[in-house]
């Protein structure tokens, strides 16, 4: 039995060895080419965004763009202040984080500290399922189910409002918060737990005073990644939050986020090369920079956390 498996394992590569050696080199070059695609993608994103943003900023000053409080690119008088869009994005991302973080952290603690392996095996795939539901479906949920409820509770609310978006986006980022935080909590060495129990601590003491502080930086990174995801969230938000750029933190009003603005402009017929067409790229650049900075920051924290416990 053992001899036959060994001989077939030997025979295969030996037969294939008839290929010339340059073949190995070609494969190597092809694989480098594959890896280069991802580098080219990043360069492409930056170049494309800049290629249209630079002409945009030659007409609209960067100061007006970053500090202007009115965003009216599609009608006269045109104003290009991104603050209302920024405010909409911050309201939706902040609001959804406020809703999702306590629920997500509680669930993560339960899964890592209390749940039996069986419960974990059942619940984690369910959360993956939740994570796999597309954005546009959450947009539908916001319009058809959440909006009527919000308007029942707050009769003054607009038909589309920021609270709608907060509710659905918080559901969307829940799986991410849970799985990342749970991973970080489980990375805390068992010896710390045992030591605390040996000193007579209750499970609450162990969790709140030993494990959470030890895992704190990683949990913060998980929150930042989830907020980044909320900032980039597009279809659900554009359906749920409405399309009025507004510099206000009232969650019952209709607001527009950076992503929803890009969707709105993309759907209209706007000729390439116009100032309005270029706003897509300028807003896209702002969005890209925001998410990139948060991402790099969170990745850095997670990297240091892994080094600490491995």
């Amino acid at each position: 039995m053992a001899t036959t498996t060994t001989s077939s394992a030997v025979a295969k590569p030996m037969l294939a060895h008839k290929r010339p050696l340059w073949f190995e080199g070609v494969i190597h070059v092809l694989l480098i080419g594959c890896a280069a695609v991802s580098i080219v993608t990043t360069i492409g994103i930056v170049l494309i965004l800049l290629s249209q943003s630079i002409p945009f900023f030659s007409e609209v000053s960067l100061v007006e763009f970053l500090t202007g409080t009115r965003w009216t690119p599609s009608f006269e008088p045109q104003h290009f202040g991104i603050l209302p869009l920024f405010c909409g994005t911050a309201l939706v991302a902040g609001g959804s984080a406020l809703l999702a973080i306590p629920l997500g952290l509680g669930t993560a603690i339960y899964l890592s500290e209390y749940a039996s392996p069986l419960v974990r095996d059942v619940v984690k795939p369910m959360l993956e399922l939740l994570a796999g539901i597309p954005s546009v479906v959450f947009g539908f949920v916001a319009v058809v189910f959440v909006s009527p409820l919000v308007r029942q509770a707050f009769p003054s609310a607009h038909l589309s409002n920021a609270l709608n978006a907060c509710v659905v986006v918080s559901i969307m980022i829940l799986p991410m918060i849970i799985s990342l935080s749970e991973e970080v909590l489980r990375a805390v060495p068992r010896s710390l737990r045992e030591a605390a129990y040996a000193l007579g601590a209750t499970k609450l003491d162990v969790t709140v005073r030993v494990i959470l502080p030890a895992a704190l930086s990683g949990i913060v990174a998980a929150f930042i990644l989830a907020i980044t995801r909320a900032i980039g969230e597009t279809m659900a938000v554009s359906l749920a939050a409405g399309g009025t750029p507004r510099l206000s933190l009232n969650p019952l009003q209709s607001v527009q986020t950076m992503t929803a603005y890009i969707v709105e402009v993309s759907q209209g017929d706007i000729a390439a090369g116009t100032l309005e067409y270029r706003t897509i790229f300028a807003v896209g650049l702002a969005l890209f920079v925001c998410t990139l900075v948060l991402n790099v920051f969170a990745q850095g924290i997670l990297g240091r956390m892994r080094e600490k416990y491995e």
Binding site: H17, A35, T42, S51, Y114, S135, L204, D205, S266
Partner: protein
């Protein structure tokens, strides 16, 4: 020492601990309840709309009850097929390069960090890239190919990261043994490493493709129309629809009857996605149990 004294000095320590456990458990059940409620609402809203006619007829602007998803479904199938064709070789190739070939130097770190960051870029930004690069610069127009290439860039980081994980799970001794028998690097990878890593890679590919299937934002950004009456027949020239775009179009309608049509389309989309997810989970579970190195 201090902990002992405190827990002895606090008669409610045990109670507080139990209340905390109940709080955490409630959080978990709330999450599950949300998922169940969500699916239940969607399915009960749209189930009545699902029929053979719904799948085989085109959408209508005026009659929501006669509207169907044929062009959208056709477009989605073509899109996913093309996306798989583009993304799987490049993604797996990158993973093989990073795990098996790349020397452990700055270049490798650069590529790896870059991929981790690309995974966090919002999909609409890829849409803007697709608009500038594929639709305008390469002059592909708003075609299936441009859409599929854009979706490829969206899911490439997911495929690469999961394929890398699958390759890393193959023990080093397999490679050493193969090399010792005289196999070249590529022969070792092709005949020994890839077959062993295949189930893990497949799981990642399925999950990535299901993400692409539900993605609407990049397609909207490249300028895809949300209302299309025909299944595209030429992948370079024809306009195309996609299931998530059709759902967006119907949900955005003020007429409530169109929301029912949207729910019907969501039922079909979710059924496909849940089946794909379940397949991936089963694959991973079975192979993690079976292969014990």
């Amino acid at each position: 020492m201090s902990l002992v004294q405190r827990s002895n000095g606090r008669p409610y320590a045990k109670l507080a601990s139990n209340l905390f456990a109940i709080f955490c458990g409630t959080c978990m059940w709330l999450c599950i309840a949300t998922l169940v409620l969500l699916l239940w609402n969607i399915f009960s809203h749209g189930w009545g709309r699902v029929s053979f006619d719904f799948i085989s007829s085109p959408p209508s602007i005026i009659f929501p009850e006669k509207s169907g998803i044929r062009p959208a479904l056709g477009g989605s199938i073509y899109l996913i097929g093309l996306t798989a064709l583009f993304s799987v070789p490049i993604g797996v190739g990158t993973a093989i390069y990073l795990e098996e070939y790349a020397p452990n130097n700055r270049w490798r770190t650069l590529v790896q960090t870059n991929i981790a960051n690309l995974a966090g870029v919002p999909s609409i930004v890829y849409g803007i890239l697709g608009l500038g690069l594929f639709v305008r610069a390469l002059n592909l127009g708003v075609s299936l190919v441009a859409g599929a290439l854009t979706l490829t860039l969206v899911i490439l980081p997911i495929i690469i990261l999961s394929a890398q994980e699958a390759l890393r799970a193959v023990p080093h001794s397999i490679r050493t043994a193969s090399h010792a028998l005289g196999a070249t690097r590529w022969q070792t990878i092709w005949h020994q490493v890839l077959p062993a890593a295949l189930p893990g890679m497949l799981t990642g590919v399925i999950l990535a493709l299901s993400r692409a299937l539900g993605e609407a934002a990049p397609l909207v950004a490249i300028g895809a129309a949300t209302y299309i009456r025909n299944v595209p027949s030429n992948m370079f020239t024809d306009e195309f629809g996609a299931l998530p775009l059709q759902i967006y179009n119907w949900t955005d309608h003020s007429d409530k009857d169109f929301h029912v049509a949207a729910a019907g389309a969501i039922v079909i989309l979710l059924t496909v996605l849940i089946s794909m997810n379940a397949l991936a989970i089963v694959l991973r579970y079975r192979f993690s149990k079976r292969i014990q190195w």
